[in-house]
C-alpha cells in the first residue's frame, strides 16, 4: 500500500512528444483512472510507472520513495495487461504462482528435479502453493486451476491476470484497459468485480481506460488525458459538474455536452445564444466564449418559437430530444423524462431554458471561465421549471 506521486513526467518517441509534463498525486488506497482518447499516451504513462519504459524527464515516487531507477520487479507494482499476457504453456495455477516463484526461488532451485530434492525449496513451494490457492479462491478460479489459458473464456482469463497481479500483494496495481477485450455484459460485471476487489484490498490502483463510464463508476480520482497532457484530475463528480476545460466536458458525459457560441455582453451577461442564460462572465465585454450545456440541464417546453425539434429518441427511462435553435442554427440535445412533452413530434416548435447555475462557460481556447449566477429563490425555480 502506498501513495503515488508522478511529477513532471515527459516522454518522447523520436520527434513526437507523447507525454508532456504529466503530474499527479494520489493518496494511499486511491483508485486513479487515466481516461482519454486512444493514442493520448495513457499506456505509455502506465508503462513508465511499471518501469517497462524510461521517462525522459520527471520523477515517480511510490510510498514516498523514488522508483525511477528501479527495474519493474523492484517497484512493488503488479500489472494487468490488455491482452492479459498469460503464459500460454502454463496452467492457471502456474500462471498465478510465477511472480512468487521468480521472487522466492533462486534460478537453480527452479529446475524440475531440484524442487523435489531440496527440502528448503520444497517448503517454499508449499507456501507459494497455499498463497496461490487463496488467490484462486478469492477470484473463483479454484475449479480451473489445471486449465491452460486457451481453455478459458475472456472473463476467466481476465480473472487469472488479476490473480497473478494480486498474489504478490503489490503496493500499486496497474491495469491497462483490462476490460476492453470483453463483451458488453461481462464488462459491466467485471467492472463491479474490480471495484469490489479494490475495496477489499485497499491497495492503490491505477486504471487506464478510454471508456468514460468505467472512469466515472470505479474511481476515486479521474485524470483526463489528452495529447500527452493531464487536463484535470478530480473526483468523478467534480470532473462531470466542474470541468476545467471544454475538452474534459466534451469527453465525459453521454450524450455529449452541447456547445453554443456566445459573446460577453456589456454587463457580463451572455448574448447571442438564442436562449436566456442568467449570470455574468468574468471576461471583458465583447469576448467570444463557448457555452457548455449538459443535456439534462435543459428545460424543454412546447411552443415559444426558440427552436425546432429535429429528432426524438426514447431509450425507455429517458428521452433525448434533438433540436435546432432558431437564433444560432446550433444543434442541441435535451435529456428529459420519457413522458415529458407527450406527443411531441419532429418539426414541432419548442422553447428552451437552462437550469439555473448549470451553465458552463469556456473561453475560445477551451479554458473554463468564472460564471456568477444570481442566487435562486425556490419560487423562481418553480417558475422556470
Amino acid at each position: 500500500m502506498a501513495s503515488l506521486e508522478i511529477d513532471g513526467v515527459s516522454k518522447r518517441y523520436g520527434d513526437n512528444l507523447i507525454l508532456d509534463g504529466v503530474s499527479v498525486d494520489v493518496p494511499d488506497g486511491a483508485f486513479l483512472t487515466l481516461v482519454g482518447p486512444s493514442g493520448c499516451g495513457k499506456s505509455t504513462l502506465l508503462r513508465i510507472l511499471a518501469g517497462l519504459e524510461l521517462q525522459d524527464a520527471g520523477s515517480l515516487r511510490i510510498g514516498g520513495h523514488e522508483v525511477s531507477h528501479l527495474r519493474p520487479s523492484r517497484r512493488d507494482i503488479a500489472m494487468v495487461f490488455q491482452s492479459y499476457a498469460l503464459y500460454p504453456h502454463m496452467t492457471v495455477a502456474q500462471n498465478i504462482a510465477i511472480p512468487l516463484i521468480l521472487r522466492r526461488l533462486p534460478l537453480w532451485q527452479r529446475l524440475p528435479l531440484m524442487a523435489r530434492l531440496l527440502p528448503q525449496a520444497r517448503s517454499t513451494l508449499a507456501r507459494i502453493d497455499a498463497e496461490v490457492q487463496a488467490a484462486m479462491e478469492m477470484l473463483g478460479l479454484t475449479s480451473l486451476a489445471e486449465r491452460r489459458p486457451v481453455q478459458l473464456s475472456g472473463g476467466q482469463r481476465q480473472r487469472v491476470a488479476l490473480g497473478r497481479a494480486l498474489v504478490r500483494q503489490p503496493a500499486v496495481f496497474l491495469l491497462d484497459e483490462p476490460l476492453s477485450n470483453l463483451d458488453a455484459k461481462l464488462r459491466v460485471h467485471m467492472r463491479s468485480e474490480i471495484a469490489q476487489l479494490h475495496g477489499r484490498l485497499g491497495t492503490t490502483f491505477v486504471y487506464v481506460t478510454h471508456d468514460q463510464i468505467e472512469a466515472m463508476t470505479m474511481s476515486t480520482h479521474v485524470a483526463v488525458m489528452m495529447e500527452g497532457r493531464l487536463l484535470q484530475v478530480a473526483t468523478p463528480s467534480e470532473i462531470y459538474a466542474d470541468p476545467a476545460d471544454l475538452r474534459v466536458a466534451e469527453f465525459i458525459g453521454s450524450p455529449k455536452i452541447n456547445v453554443l457560441p456566445a459573446r460577453v455582453g456589456a454587463d457580463g451577461t451572455l448574448t447571442g445564444v438564442g436562449l436566456p442564460v442568467s449570470g455574468s462572465v468574468a471576461a471583458a465585454p465583447g469576448t467570444a466564449v463557448q457555452l457548455g450545456l449538459r443535456p439534462e440541464h435543459l428545460i424543454l417546453r412546447r411552443g415559444g418559437g426558440r427552436g425546432t425539434v429535429s429528432a426524438i429518441e426514447d431509450t425507455g427511462p429517458e428521452r433525448f430530444v434533438s433540436l435546432v435553435l432558431d437564433a444560432s442554427d446550433a444543434p442541441v440535445v435535451a435529456r428529459v423524462a420519457p413522458d415529458h412533452c407527450a406527443g411531441l413530434r419532429v418539426g414541432d416548435d419548442v422553447s428552451l431554458a437552462v437550469l439555473p447555475g448549470k451553465a458552463l462557460v469556456f473561453d475560445h481556447a477551451g479554458a473554463r471561465l468564472g460564471f456568477d449566477h444570481p442566487a435562486m429563490t425556490p419560487g423562481e425555480f418553480d417558475h422556470v421549471r
Binding site: L52, S73, F81, A85, Y87, P88, I98, L102
Partner: protein, 306 residues
Amino acid sequence: MSADVALSTRLGRAKRLRRLAEAATGWGLALPAAVLMLALILIPTASAALLALTDYQLGARRVSFIGAANFVEMWRDRVFWQAFANTLIYTALTVPLSVGLGLGAALLIEADPTGRTAFRTIYFLPVTALLVAMATVWEFILHPQLGLVNVALRQIGIAGPDWLASPDWVLASLGFIFVWQQTGYNMILFLAGLKGISPELYQAARVDGADRGVERFTMVTWPGLAATTLFVTVITTLYSFRVFDTVAALTQGGPSNASNVLLYNIYREGFVYLRTGYASAMTLVFLALILMVAMVQMRARRGHSA
C-alpha cells in the same frame, strides 16, 4: 397417408440428388490436385516399388521378377550401410548446428534492431545461392594449399588437412557447407516465429520478476517457439537426409565412400552402374526413412495442439 409417403420419397430423392451433386463438385475440385499427386508421387512410387522386385537394368531388354532379392542384397551390402551411417552422422552433425545457429542469429537480430535488414539479408544470402555453383567456391576455400581456410590456419601455425580428401574430415566439411546454407533459412523461420510472440508477454515477465534474459527466454521465447522449432528441426532433418548436390559436385562420395550418402549411393547404383531394380529398392528404404521423420512431426504436432 400415401401422399405423405410419396412426398417423403420425393424429398428423399431430391436430397440424395443434391448430395450426389455435392460429392461430384467435391471430386471435381479435388481433381487437379489428385491428378498431380498421381502423376508426381503415387505412380513413380508404385513404379519404384514394382521395379524394386526385379533385376531390371537401365536399357536392358529382359527383366525378371526376383522377389526380395534386392533387399537381401542391400542387407549384405557394406557400401549401402556405410552410406546409411554417413547420412545419419551427417544429419546428427548438421541439424543441431543449423537449428541452433539459426535460432541464435534470429534472437540476435531481434534483440538489436540496428542493421536488422542488413543482417537478415546477409544471413539469408546463402539460401538463395545455387549450391552447385557455390560448390566451386567452396572447393577453392577448402583447397589444401591455396584455400582460405588453410592459409588462415597456417598463420596461427596449424597445418590444416585436405578437407575434402581426408576421410576424417570430408563429412564434416560437407556438413559445414550445409550449415552455412541452412542457417539463414532457419533464421528466417525463427524470425517469423518470434514475430508471433506478443511483446506484452515479455513485459509481463519483466513485471513478474524475470529480470534475466535467460529467464525470459525460458518463460516466453522458448515455449512460444515450440511449434516453429519442431517445424524447423523436421525440415532441416529432411533436407539433411536429402544431401546430394555437394557430394556429387565436390567428392563423388569419396575418398573410398567416406562421403557416400544414401541419395548419392542410389544415384550411383541407378545411373552409373545402371542397376535400376536395386536402386529402386534403396529408394523405397529411403522413402520409408523420410516418412518416419514426417510422422514424428505429425505425432508431435497433434500432442502439441491437444
